[in-house]
Symmetry: C2
Subunit: 340 residues, 2 copies
């Protein structure tokens, strides 16, 4: 194990106000020091996720006062550790990290992460680039399948189904015998998912969409939907699903409040609830359970839980990178990397 | 036991279209015959409930094609029985009945009810008039307390809290040590509930209402609301409640869809769900459990689960009676009765 020289200053991406990519700039900041049960990670790469876009616009669950370093997840190498039993285990290891919103995010040369669920060891076979994308989408996809199986569901509805996450859920679903009813917005997304083996892919722009969705939900007896769109889509899902179904909202691509309908809620016994990875992990599971979930997920990073990469940008070009991702959210992830 | 002579024809209240009290009229119809596991009840009285108003306006979960006989519950005496083991037990008994929406309702001189959960024996101490109001509100109030206790809640929020149901929930809550945070719309309702011993009663018209509600929810650690109002009130409840709370909508007095907020659903882990008495009774409980719940509830009909009566009208004046109740829903129930 080589001990890297840790500089005093580092390059970070900073968000000046919760007003989108225009508020991004680069800033030199002191390299933070790991405290008790914390490690210092020299960052290798960090993806731009839909949740980062929400964060930049002030539409996410974290709201530290700006200026703040964004970045929900990333990968790197542990170069220093604070006091605590777990730290020594991680020293020198290649890891993935998940931001918990209480400190600065991952778009920086160095980041402090908690050994209590904020840092995960990468499998040898997982590259630092794949590792950078191995927490949020892979664990969310795994969570969706776990929720599906625990509820005894054999079929689910998935909106924004052509996303990186959506594709993972489809692959896991096929592996586990869960029928996925996919909802997308464009014909090329229908083709993409069908080429990957999806059997039911509906285009929400079809004039006949509501009937198609209703028929598919009833044919496959789907009582659970994972909805990334919210707004009117939530209302359409509520109406299409059979009695006693649940719509689990996990994002808000429509930028509109989930629509409801009192008939569906009161008389049809339907429920609207939410999913957010952090609370799902940390309120439901102990550290051992989280690490077991992580290990199962790491084994699939090269296959079912693989993410495509379409571009890499240095931190200095984060604004451009975010704009490019905002314009085109499917078709591969964009990674931010330190220049060094 | 005296065998009453059953006529061929009877007076019924009929709704011609789902367009409110103007569509009510009286009609002579053949007296129905009880089939297998059914009894024929000679009706004594039937209240006008908020759920009946929703039904008359086409805003309820039942939607038999009109013309249809309304009336969700009532009381009477079993005068004939169809084949089936339970029927003989009920013959001659004073009972309460609950409409399941699959047949005509209770606003008629005679009604057929199912021995499988649609008809309940009245305690000797319960009058036919109190018995007429002893299913929907008393069992709903009992259900709310059961849901509260099963969820481990020590405090709940209740909207439209001055209703007959709301007053019952308050009395049961006091008996069982559950803190009720009451929400009403008028100062006289605040006074009414406080005079009955309620400790927390908020007026949603107060300019400061949102803050008061937030503070009360957090002070008493309330994570569950029962909401009869829906519309913006549901959104206000979602915002006021702490993380991981549930708003259970059970009526729609605002005539507006429950409002949501993606922050509250996704990032605060809050849930909107519904309550409807019939499915809650019949999907969760077997007949023995329903009868045990009924017996506990009957014992409290003279006290915690008592309803006040403010007026009685014959079926012929049902339109006037419904209009009077629509104009003033608190201050005692209005009963409809056959003239005979």
């Amino acid at each position: 194990m080589s001990h890297t020289q840790i500089p005093d200053q580092m390059t970070t991406v900073v968000l000046d106000s919760y007003s989108g990519p225009e508020a991004l700039r680069v800033e030199q900041r002191p390299v933070p020091k790991p405290g008790k049960d914390e490690v210092l990670v020299k960052v290798a790469a960090s993806p731009i996720n839909p949740s980062d876009l929400a964060f930049l616009g002030g539409n996410y669950g974290f709201d530290n006062p700006p200026p703040v370093v964004p970045g929900g997840e990333g990968s790197g190498t542990v170069v220093a550790v604070g006091p605590g039993a777990m730290g020594r285990y991680f020293l020198g290891k290649r890891v993935a990290c998940l931001s918990n919103g209480q400190k600065d995010g991952i778009w920086a040369e160095y980041v402090v992460a908690s050994t209590k669920g904020g840092v995960f060891p990468l499998n040898k076979s997982v590259s630092l680039e794949q590792g950078a994308m191995s927490v949020i989408n892979p664990l969310t996809a795994s969570a969706f399948l776990e929720i599906t199986k625990e509820g005894g569901h054999k079929a689910i509805v998935l909106t924004a189904a052509a996303s990186a996450l959506g594709q993972m859920v489809n692959r896991l679903g096929r592996s586990e015998g869960i029928q996925v009813i996919n909802v997308v917005r464009r014909d090329e997304q229908v083709q993409l998912l069908k080429a990957q083996g999806a059997t039911v892919v509906l285009n929400s722009d079809d004039v006949d969409f509501d009937r198609q969705l209703h028929d598919a939900c009833h044919e496959y007896d789907a009582h659970l939907a994972f909805d990334a769109v919210a707004g009117p889509m939530t209302g359409q899902l509520l109406k299409a699903l059979p009695e006693n179904s649940t719509v689990t909202v996990y994002s808000c691509l429509s930028h509109k409040a989930p629509q409801t309908n009192v008939d569906q809620i009161v008389f049809q016994g339907k429920t609207i609830t939410g999913f957010w990875l952090g609370p799902w992990l940390y309120s439901n599971k102990n550290l051992l359970q989280i690490l077991m979930l992580w290990r199962r997920s790491q084994k699939l990073i090269g296959t079912d839980l693989k993410s495509e990469i379409r571009a890499r940008y240095p931190f200095q070009e984060s604004r451009k990178a975010v704009q490019e991702y905002t314009n085109q959210m499917t078709g591969g992830k964009i990674l931010l990397k330190p220049t060094t």
